[in-house]
Symmetry: C2
Subunit: 463 residues, 2 copies
């Protein structure tokens, strides 16, 4: 097993203190994409990154405008015959509310118990900074990179990446690459190294049920007209059976069956079901019969009501039949389900099971495809090997129940495989107060990246 280039390691060891200071400098820019008052900070963060990229040796580094927050682009393409990797991270961060729960100022980072504490330490400025410093170490020791790199750092990831799809489509011609590496995920429980092999997609809908324009007196009309809230409850109850199986016809048609290799891989993940339950104070876990908790969360589609409302919500009693009732209903999808194929099936089924006597409307509010990386993809294999060489143990393969639309956006727009190699510790408090990044994940992860680039440069994608 090849270890990291000693010259690169020597450089990294010699620059540790300066690197931490640079990491802090980057975190101090309050690049909150959601808040308009931080617009200038977004530009400042993007310019700071471009300054770094240019200084170390990247070319075409630019703050590329979009309708909202700029995208940072750069490339270095002077390794003929070597693969081209497009690296994606994001430089924007979540807001800091509730600010009173932070132990210190969110944008004044410091180290405590071996962790960097501050907004963005892990999600995702810390991981972006790892890529900067890995490339810098390679440029500094050799004046070149071992492979071709394209950099795409986004500033709207925490605000639904409004501009990215359009930007990718508009820049498709100059974004040719062999693979996309996204560093915006994390390790497994216990801070065990992991690669995320899949993300769930989503189909988000709203169901609106009405009987008429105004609330009705439940004495004068109760029993003689359909009640929209009762009707909505019946519709929702028909969407999933008591065993957690979605009842929409054709819903499972394109679900990739869980093969034995995948189930074995998932069963090998250390997972404490009782700790999972206890952490959320649920009275018990639930879900589709015949699947483990991790399979239900990561490898099986599901359906959830995200919100429901109609009629009287105050204290005490009001005797009305609500004029209308509403629910947000979303489905998490797995490969190879296609939200655009499922949408009409869902809509038709809702209308079919709706009781007579009410009008029912079904709307699609949003969708995103699921994303899955073949675990035998050469870049996945190389990443796993680099992780094992640097962290000392092979990574677990995780299936993430959430949806990172960016991954599917890259797959769809550029037609590229996406490898999700993230380094955040699972207790990073991403999106929450007191966000942290374990410094060892950061430092060792930089070495993982250097080693991965070296190996891909030397061996290509042949396998």
């Amino acid at each position: 097993m090849t270890a990291i280039d000693p010259a690169v390691e020597a450089h990294l060891e010699a620059t540790r203190a300066a690197r931490l200071e640079s990491y802090f400098e980057f975190l101090r820019i309050p690049s909150i994409s959601a808040l308009p008052e931080h617009g200038p900070d977004m530009v400042r963060a993007a310019e700071w990154i471009v300054g770094e990229l240019t200084r170390m040796g990247f070319e075409h580094a630019e703050v590329s405008p979009t309708p909202w927050h700029p995208i940072v682009y750069a490339d270095w393409l002077h390794a003929p015959g070597a693969p081209t990797v497009l690296v994606y991270c994001h430089y924007d961060v979540q807001p800091v509310d509730p600010i009173e729960l932070w132990e210190t100022a969110p944008f004044d980072p410091f180290v405590k118990d071996g962790r960097v504490v501050g907004r963005g330490a892990a999600d995702d400025k810390g991981q972006l900074h790892m890529h900067l410093k890995a490339a810098e170490a390679l440029f500094a020791t050799r004046g070149r990179l071992p492979l071709n790199l394209r950099i795409v750092f986004e500033g709207e990831e925490e605000s639904t990446s409004v501009s990215l799809p359009g930007w990718l489509a508009a820049n498709r011609a100059r974004l040719g690459a062999d693979v996309v590496v996204i560093s915006d995920t994390g390790f497994h429980e216990g801070n065990l190294p992991a690669i995320t092999e899949s993300l769930r997609g989503i189909l988000y809908t709203q169901i609106d049920v009405a009987v008429g324009p105004i609330d009705l007196h439940s004495g004068s009309y109760g029993g003689a007209v359909e009640n929209p809230a009762n009707a909505l409850a019946r519709i929702i109850s028909e969407l999933k059976d008591r065993d957690g199986v979605v009842q929409v016809p054709g819903f499972y048609d394109d679900v990739r069956p869980l093969d034995e290799a995948t189930r074995t891989r998932m069963a090998a993940l250390p997972f404490d079901e009782e700790a999972f339950r206890s952490r959320i104070s649920a009275p018990a876990l639930a879900g589709e019969t015949g699947y483990t908790v991790l399979e239900r969360e990561g490898a099986r589609p599901t359906l959830d009501v995200n919100g429901i409302w109609g009629g009287f919500q105050g204290h005490g009693e009001k005797t009305i039949i609500p004029a209308h009732a509403h629910a947000k209903v979303s489905m998490r999808l797995v490969a190879d389900q296609d939200p655009e194929v499922l949408w009409p099936k869902f809509r038709d089924y809702v209308l079919q099971v709706a009781p007579p006597g009410v009008t029912v409307e079904v709307s699609k509010l949003g969708s995103g495809r699921p994303s899955a990386t073949p675990v035998d993809h050469p870049v996945v294999r190389a990443a796993a090997s680099a992780i094992e060489a640097t962290f000392g143990r092979p990574p677990f393969f995780r299936r993430n129940g959430g949806s990172i639309p960016v991954a599917a956006t890259f797959e769809e727009t550029l037609g590229l495989t996406v490898v999700l190699m993230g380094f955040a510790n699972p207790d990073s408090n991403a999106h929450a107060p007191n966000e942290t990044m374990v410094l060892d994940n950061y430092e060792t992860g930089i070495r993982t990246i250097c080693l991965l680039w070296d190996r891909l440069g030397a061996n290509g994608l042949g396998g």
Copy 2:
């Protein structure tokens, strides 16, 4: 068929203009029980009534204090051997919002197209005033009444009669009577004379479902925990089947079957189903199989969600599993269902059908017994006969789907049969802008009351 005493008729005819002026004088007092700033008006209205009662010949007339708005009490008990009737009306009115929809000032009554227009014209100050003027006509022509009367006029009916049950219980000893006559209902569609033979009771509950203290990410937990909103929908869907039949075990045990006589009586009611549907703009009517719309509304129990809420209700998408979800669920009951007997059955059934993986709480928010008057009760028969003699046609018997808790309160606290003899035109706009009372209903109804008192005094309750 005995007609009204010619002397009484002559008195009523001679005093018509003065009576209307007195009616207006009473309506001009803005006795809105719900609004604290009208507290002095409530006392003024009560004192105005007591002045009238005293002047015409009642005894023990008093503004009787309660913890909130006073109750007007009076009696005249000098007809030994004749029945004693307790008359209930209320002198408080609904607020006038939305004020901009009134054609004129709500407390400046006037006559338009044969109707008195103004807040309280029908509900219920107009009907209270009818009882005042009927008694006054009898006192004025004879110096006495043909039977014993007790007057109980309440000031909180539009504010859930907070004080009445306690006042009745505290005054039980001095409220001895043979029957209670309540004039707070109305005629049938088309202004056809009617007696209300039943009111539905109510059991009002709340169901609270929770999975834990905080909303969960629907990606990280979707499929692995029960969703409280989905669980609540399942519970609600189990409460009633697709045929409108309530599924709570034992729910129908005490429902008095609809006998043929009652069904025939109800079928005789003029009723335009399409007009009923069209008035509320419902796409179709619905309800329990095997019953007519009027039976469903008036003679069968039912169950309705009055409100439902949980999770995200805003625009767009939020991908959460709501920490908790809630519903207000009420049942309308018919004789002889007892909400206190049904409550534990309902609660146990909800807990039984609830899916595992969530905590479920069921609370009772309120209840009221159904009320039914035997149509062959001698006072009902006498009232029907008096209506026919004065209005020229026999009354229909209506089953009112709503609940007037006051009726059951009298039945329960005093153990008396309640006769619901009301005179409001069905298009009275009670509780709404431009409330009206058809003057002919008012004038003829006063004669109905005089005739009824005369007949009950002459014939007693023997039948």
